[in-house]
């Protein structure tokens, strides 16, 4: 069962309370999202580490309930 936009935003917010999040359901199917996430938690981290932090926040849903998440991550 795909992930609703609210569920996705909630999971990201829980992991990164200070984050500015721009989330788009790019195909309107709750399964292909693009997300721009800006949080202090990413400061000093490599891109791979930043993206892994997001995947961790999604608690195993990435690649399962959630098929595609185009990520743009940046520190504050």
């Amino acid at each position: 069962m795909p992930l609703t936009k609210n569920e996705l935003e909630k999971m990201i917010k829980e992991a990164f309370p200070d984050a500015i999040i721009v989330l788009e359901d790019s195909q309107g199917d709750n399964n292909h999202y693009s997300a721009r996430i800006c949080t202090e938690a990413f400061n000093g981290k490599t891109k791979i580490e930043q993206h892994k932090m997001v995947y961790k926040a999604l608690k195993g849903k990435m690649g399962n309930e959630l098929h595609a998440l185009q990520l743009e991550t940046m520190g504050k």
Partner: protein, 105 residues
């Protein structure tokens, strides 16, 4: 040889190694297509592994790199990223730098 060792071998034996869905000539996913096309712009030979042809590799590579999606690009054994990161690096010219630094171009 278990799947992890098989994956390690493929990655260590190929300087440029792309785990993707389908093949460079017939990609089966937009993200895989994007990364293989980016590599093609450098006119370099690269080894591709079609994860759709082997479920063990398809799941094993995600465990190996602790990265949940396909495609996955490796340069001289090092995981560089999936579609977003490779695209971002390419657009910023960073991918060319890494390829040069690893004397792959």
């Amino acid at each position: 040889m278990n799947i992890n060792e098989q994956i390690k071998n493929v990655i260590s034996q190929n300087d440029i190694c792309l785990f993707m869905k389908g093949t460079p000539e017939a990609p089966k996913c937009g993200f895989s297509l994007a990364v293989s096309n980016i590599l093609k712009t450098f006119n370099i030979k690269f080894h591709s592994v079609d994860v759709l042809a082997n479920d063990e590799i398809r799941n094993g590579i995600k465990v190996y790199s602790d990265w949940p999606t396909i495609p996955q690009l490796y340069l001289k054994g090092e995981f560089v990223g999936g579609c977003d990161i490779v695209k971002e690096m390419f657009e910023k010219g960073e991918l060319k730098e890494v390829l040069k630094k690893k004397s792959l171009i």
